[in-house]
């Protein structure tokens, strides 16, 4: 459809190249809003935490502080990027790029609405897992290439806990796969059609909790932010980065927060489906496009991320490892077995 619409401009190309150009444009259409969302997520975080602390938060730049993200971005852009003298320069600059790429490429398979997906591939869930697994490299390499003991310790800690929580996340995804019978994210959403009770959060409640908490751990957010625990190792793996290099780390952290929220919304909260489906309110809200519901669900989960940060004190390192290995993984494995029983007896509308 978009190819036809653009045909006056790109019609002279071969079909292969038209496909290429259209997909590059579509990638930009997804990417730009994410970058803007990241900018305003930082503002939302500071505002929400501010109100939770009974203070106002940033309110100087623009009306009610609305231009604060731009001020932050310009400040970071004009700051000098300092390279430590004995750092491994190539890897030092490769690491933030790797982290950012891992946080952004997974968006290719996220369905924003029925049919609104860049790559509607059948192995979508596996793709998400593989990309998540590749995201560890940026952190390890940033820690190593900085040639600083704090950065190395931060990188090591972070890699260890990311590997631990990735397993729990993987098992939670296996639970979703068992309920939906498909690895395609659009099919997973369609499998939840019906009502708010048909969404997978209800039959997979332990998986939902494990997935979301592991997601908080994966993104190095409080209360799992030991990789940058200020009181112990200054700022962890990105202690040597400044200016835009540091900004890339921040961009990647917030982009992966949004990604985790989007994935949780797709897999457990019915993606683009209206929460009023199956009730008398369904025709009333029929005019609302699916993407609005999807964005509302993402926003709610992002609010929970921020809420966690304002509420919980940081975990101790050994407790984090214990929670990942000895609590979450057994819980998910047990629930996979329970799901097997559900599946056999065709429990509820879900299986």
């Amino acid at each position: 459809m978009i190819t036809e619409w653009l045909s006056p401009v790109i019609g002279w190309m071969s079909p292969d190249w038209q496909y290429f150009v259209v997909h590059v444009l579509l990638t930009l259409v997804i990417m730009m809003p994410i970058v803007v969302a990241v900018a305003y997520l930082t503002l939302a975080e500071r505002k929400v935490i501010g109100y939770m602390h009974v203070r106002i938060g940033p309110n100087r730049v623009g009306p009610r502080g609305l231009f604060q993200p731009f001020a932050d971005v310009f400040k970071l852009m004009f700051k000098e990027v300092i390279t430590p003298t004995v750092a491994n320069k190539f890897i030092f600059y490769l690491a933030p790029i790797l982290i950012l790429v891992a946080a952004l490429v997974a968006w290719a398979v996220i369905p924003f609405d029925d049919g609104w997906v860049l790559a509607d591939i059948n192995a979508g869930l596996l793709y998400v897992l593989a990309i998540g697994a590749a995201g560890v490299y940026g952190v390890i390499l940033a820690g190593w290439a900085s040639n600083s003991k704090y950065a190395l310790l931060g990188g090591m800690r972070s890699a260890a806990h990311k590997v631990a929580y990735e397993l729990a996340m993987g098992f939670a995804l296996v639970g979703v796969l068992m309920a939906s019978g498909s690895l395609n994210l659009s099919e997973i959403v369609r499998g939840q059609e019906g009502s708010i009770l048909h969404w997978y959060w209800l039959p997979l409640l332990p998986m939902f909790v494990v997935y979301f908490v592991s997601g908080v751990a994966e993104t190095n957010r409080a209360p799992f932010d030991i990789s940058e625990g200020e009181s112990e190792i200054v700022a962890g793996f990105h202690v040597e980065y400044s200016g835009m290099a540091f900004a890339l780390f921040m961009l990647a952290e917030y982009a992966s927060m949004i990604l985790i929220s989007a994935l949780a919304a797709v897999m457990f909260l019915g993606g683009w489906l209206s929460p009023f489906q199956g009730t008398f309110l369904e025709p009333v809200f029929a005019f609302v496009p699916g993407i609005v519901w999807f964005l509302l669900k993402i926003s709610f989960l992002l609010f929970v991320f921020i809420w966690f940060r304002a509420t919980f004190p940081r975990f101790r390192y050994d407790q984090i490892m214990r929670l990942g290995w000895k609590v979450f993984i057994p819980v998910t494995i047990l629930w996979i077995a329970v799901e097997g029983v559900f599946h056999y007896y065709q429990v509820g509308p879900w299986f």
């Binding site: 292969d16 890897i91 059948n122 192995a123 596996l126 593989a130 697994a133 390890i140």
Partner: protein
């Protein structure tokens, strides 16, 4: 040249160049990263060949797990690469000979005489919208379920054995019992003692205040 062919040549040449760099580069961390790049390009070539399940699993297992452990080891054990390169020239003739023999053997087996397009015609492209994940799963859990389960069992035994070999409790080392730590409540640790008021303290207090007053006036 179609987009497909360009992508194939880019991924394939990146894979080959990265594989060569794995053995020629000096820094062991760089070598590990080139190996990651090799795996990644190979996975992309596999995806181009409609083997998307294998490609993604290659990423998941080798890039996501195995190479992370490699990197950990290489980074933590500051490996000195120079002694490993000693005797390179001395062993070069043997190495070249072995490599040549292997290449010739492979060429004899894999050459166009036995795998040419006239013997194995190029497979039809699968219709859009099909994937091989479902197909692999169905075969794996029906026809090949016993080999699959046996392989899983052997892996489990290997995991248990590796942990049993590496894990030992030495005497005199302090371990934290985190369950006990988490279960502890304030009442277990803090005792609010009820003490009778001590009359002798009053004299001390007044003495102290008078001493302070003395200090201030002086």
């Amino acid at each position: 040249m179609s987009l497909y062919q360009i992508l194939f040549y880019v991924f394939a040449s990146v894979a080959v160049i990265a594989a060569i760099r794995v053995v020629t580069v000096r820094n062991p961390v760089h070598a590990a990263l080139f190996l990651v790049l090799t795996f990644f390009s190979t996975a992309l070539v596999w995806v181009l060949m409609e083997a998307e399940f294998l490609g993604i699993v290659l990423l998941l297992v080798y890039v996501g797990a195995v190479m992370v452990l490699f990197l950990f080891v290489v980074m933590m054990l500051d490996v000195n690469i120079a002694p490993l390169r000693e005797g390179f020239i001395k062993n070069l003739p043997v190495g070249v000979f072995v490599a040549l023999v292997m290449i010739v053997e492979l060429a004899l087996i894999l050459g166009p005489a036995s795998f040419g397009l006239d013997i194995y015609p190029a497979p039809e492209a699968a219709p859009a919208g099909t994937g091989n994940t479902l197909a692999i799963g169905q075969v794996l859990y029906t026809k090949f379920v016993y080999p699959f389960e046996i392989a899983a069992f052997i892996l489990l035994v290997a995991i248990v054995a590796a942990i049993a070999l590496a894990h030992r409790r030495r005497p005199g080392v302090h371990y934290q019992d985190i369950d006990a730590q988490v279960r502890v409540r304030a009442e277990d640790r803090v005792r609010i003692a009820e003490l009778d008021a001590d009359k002798t303290r009053r004299g001390d207090l007044s003495g102290e205040t008078s001493a302070q007053q003395d200090k201030e006036t002086s």
